[in-house]
Symmetry: C2
Subunit: 580 residues, 2 copies
């Protein structure tokens, strides 16, 4: 393709609202354009990258026997009512009405649709397993769309669903997807980490996230040399229980005027934050909860939602707390709590004695608190947000942390959807059983951002060969020079015939602008036909190298072709992280 | 692929709401499933066909230098307000609000988005022409979705847009698209007719529709041996004007109790329907219109909308007419009409004398009416719905008619969108000019229905090779027979290696069911390994033939492979129409 004909408007400056290096470079390089908050158009360069990622994903899905289908984007609300997710999903689900005032959602995911699709047609265990996938647009009405393609409202996903007559069959397919996802990332050429993950609103028993490592990744990952790795939403740790034995004080109410936060109370009462019971009020489907954790720890809401099996759970507003308990949030505590509020405590509370908590009276806290003696706990759970240095749950060594961008997520759904939507098959004995399901998502458009976050430098994007919009850019420094023009077109033809995707920069602009654009859009190899062409010399420069290699074409293009093939077969950009 | 692993649930009966043979066969054959009215899922077989059509369309777009992009499905209302189409488009446009109550449409088309995309980045005529396309879902909230994929609410379209600095450049690109569209239909192997078309809500100066011929096509096409062809919405005819000369009668009001329709009035007054002025009230953006045409002709609303340049035009309701004129619709006429109602007349009114029209008085008509003398006409237009037998506008010969399914539509938009949305480029002289646009739609999912409507028989679908889900089906009659099993797998491997897409029917069901399914899903060639395999004989049967050919594999598969290659290279199913 000739650059003069390619619709790729490059920009010197990124728009002011571009908040990450990836979206800055993608906009500047003419890959994408924003249409509205979280909504993008893919221009020809961006589309080429998207298509290459899509094709790699498709090939790996086909390789594990998943069959491609296409389900509708607009989904009738009735199906979502069956599973209860019409209410559970919250305002992130885009909703609309048709001209007959029937409700639809722009699908954020397709469990309901596919369970419905198969429930009347799958009859026997003999038809199982079945694995189906699609590559299609998905919608999520982010309250604040940001990070370009990483947190957009319309995005391209590959979603797959599998159906099984036994758990062992699900396990086998789950492993195949695990392998396929790893292979996709290896083929693209990215550094990644697979972690145990929280299954959130999708549900199910087990899930893994595939994260591309990047300095500004949205996800925090905990990992250990022993092999354990989990997202911070899911990560567990080795609990070292403290004993409550030893001297205990009496419960005492103490004035704590204007001391509301953990820091304020610990300063005022001269205790450590570890000695404070942090009491947080949450509102769920069945009412109010008080979650307790030590003052020096952060509560992990994903764990709380999982423990209470309630994805609608949100922190109560200060006003709701005031209405419920008659006291501002800074003075809330578990002693004397109305019975309708369920108390759920993190394990760290167990070892507490002589602790401090809010007194349910404005301006007062209790000291000398002993959990168990002074208040009852309805249930114990691990609710702690694990951080770097916490002991690994498998081996006890201090864990490390990294930032990642989630591109894939696989789930063992089990019978969650087949139960709610009456999906049955008959098993070998003729019994009706709910089929067991798995689901497997891949963020196709998001992968573009992940690649750029990991692979770029100060001059622009560094695409891995597998997804680069073109393999080679031939830069004709002065296209008006007849020799440059002739040779660059000749070279373009030879390289195209050899099977390479070539972009010929034949624009009538300065050499500096051409070099800048070539670096910005990040094509793996640049061949420059400049002044030295008079002596039969062309330059070959991989995007990852600073200095070009000079190759003579006096005796024809064979040597050059060999050199390019060598460069491309060895081409493997590495992230700064890895390089460090 | 093995049929036992393919997710293709075939059905004996079509669902009751399937209203055309194509959707009946597509559902029965396990190609698609309905999710809600006008909303479908594509199962693996259907997806394979869809993808093949998509790929043919993509190749032909790339061949004429159009560049693939991807624009969002959800489009901000603001852009549609700029062109006025937010109001013009009516209830067929799907609308929604996001969580911030901002309005969006699920795009029925993308002129606004692409004009916006380019308006800030196209600067100079030197960047032109540019041609961009996408293949993506489109939405139309049909009041009564029907005919399966032909009139669905969510459908896959290829839409392309071109941008030019001159009309001659647009003409050139328009011709390229015309050629590419013809080639797509030739490659698929369909009988089609290209006709001049009305450009409707899209607008512009010229447009052509590409129609696949089919008995139950939605579009009526008029055509002539001289080469003229147009859709009935657009078709013109050679007007033979009658002279008004000769004796004229005086205008007379006559009672016509209970005679409201043309037929009733012509019977009651003993005049022909040709002598009656049919007066129809329409409501548009600027008010009310009365459209006049002879009683024996039908009014063409597309022509009326085009003549009045008002796509919002609808026929007034009986109540609106009563409120406006104080008389029921059966007695409406142009004599004494309030001035705020504009009179627009078809050319056929010109030759009328001694005519009859409603008297604007309940129970009365006028006779002896002479247009011009008795009432004034604000403007004359061709408003007639042309039908079979009307004289060709080019050569005067009686036109023929055919039914077609519109799969492609190309438009010369001109400057409609660049004017409304401030899209400028500088021309050679440095002047700012609005760029000139073309747009080019192709119904990708609709093409599936069109193919099946044209190519089927009483047993099922007859796919052309270019879009068949598989090239060959190998029917292993009794898969439990070890020789059948061995040979069918061997044959499957050989054919697959030879580059064919093969479906191996290894299911444990009766031979009759296998043959029925093979015919239903319409794979071009069936190879049967049955009882005669004991003598080394297999059967080869193209889908279009009644009788199989017997081929010996005693000396290996070479002869068979030759035979199959021959059959497939000659394979060209023809429509019944053509065969007749």
């Amino acid at each position: 393709m000739r650059f003069s004909q390619l619709y790729a408007p490059t920009l010197k400056e990124a728009p002011a609202d571009a908040d990450l290096i990836s979206i800055k470079l993608l906009v500047r390089g003419g890959f994408v354009r924003k249409v509205a908050a979280g909504i993008y158009s893919f221009l020809p360069l961006g589309f080429r990258v998207l298509k290459k990622i899509e094709d790699i994903v498709r090939q790996e899905m086909n390789a594990i026997g998943s069959q491609e289908i296409l389900m509708p984007i607009i989904q009738p609300a009735e199906l979502w009512h069956e599973t209860g997710r019409w209410d559970d999903y919250g305002p992130e689900m885009m909703r609309m009405q048709d001209r007959h005032e029937r409700f639809f959602t722009l699908g954020p995911t397709h469990e309901e649709i596919i369970t419905h699709l198969l429930r009347n047609e799958l009859n026997s265990y003999k038809q199982l397993p079945v694995s189906l996938y699609q590559i299609a647009m998905k919608y999520r009405d982010e309250i604040r769309p940001r990070f370009g393609l990483m947190r957009s409202r319309e995005f391209l996903m590959k979603d797959a669903y599998s159906f099984h007559g036994s758990w062992s069959s699900l396990d086998e397919t789950y492993k195949q997807f695990y392998g396929a996802y790893s292979k996709i990332l290896q083929r693209i050429g990215l550094e990644f980490l697979v972690v145990e993950a929280d299954s959130g609103a999708i549900g199910g028993n087990e899930s893994h996230e595939f994260n591309v490592l990047a300095d500004y990744g949205e996800s925090t990952l905990l990992y250990c040399d022993c092999g354990y790795a989990a997202s911070d939403e899911k990560a567990e740790y080795l609990l070292q229980e403290e004993s409550q034995e030893g001297a205990v004080a009496d419960l005492k109410i103490v004035p704590t005027p204007n001391s509301r936060t953990v820091d304020e109370v610990s300063a005022f009462l001269e205790v450590t934050s570890r000695d404070i019971v942090k009491s947080l009020i949450y509102k769920g489907r069945k009412g109010y909860y008080m979650a307790l954790i030590r003052g020096n720890e952060e509560l992990n809401e994903s764990k709380l939602k999982a423990a209470l099996e309630d994805q609608t759970l949100v922190m109560a507003t200060p006003q709701e707390v005031l209405d419920l308990l008659g006291v501002p949030i800074g003075f809330v505590g578990p002693i004397g709590l109305p019975k309708e509020v369920t108390i759920i405590a993190d394990h760290t509370i167990k070892g507490l004695k002589n602790a401090v908590c809010g007194a349910l009276k404005e301006g007062y806290h209790y000291s000398g608190v002993l959990p168990g003696r002074d208040f009852k706990i309805d249930s114990w759970h691990d609710l702690k947000m694990v951080t770097e240095g916490d002991p690994c749950p498998k081996c006890g060594a201090p864990m490390k942390s990294a930032k990642g961008i989630e591109v894939g997520h696989i789930f063992k759904l089990g019978t969650k959807y087949s139960e709610k939507m009456n999906g049955y098959v008959t098993d070998e004995k003729g019994n009706s059983i709910h089929y067991i399901m798995g689901c497997y998502g891949w963020g196709v458009s998001r992968t573009i951002s992940a690649i750029v976050e990991q692979l770029h430098d100060e001059n622009g994007i560094i695409w891995p060969l597998a997804v680069a919009p073109f393999d080679i850019i031939v830069t004709a420094v002065n296209i008006k020079d007849p020799i440059v023009s002739e040779k660059s077109i000749q070279l373009y033809d030879i390289l195209s015939e050899a099977g390479f995707e070539v972009l010929l920069d034949d624009r009538e602009i300065s050499p500096g602008m051409k070099f800048k654009d070539a670096d910005l859009i990040g094509i793996p190899v640049r061949i420059t036909l400049g002044k030295k062409l008079a002596q039969g010399i062309v330059e070959v420069k991989p995007r990852t190298e600073k200095k070009p290699l000079e190759v003579s074409i006096v005796d024809g293009f064979d040597t050059l072709l060999e050199e390019i093939k060598k460069e491309l077969s060895n081409y493997r950009p590495v992230s700064k992280m890895e390089a460090e």
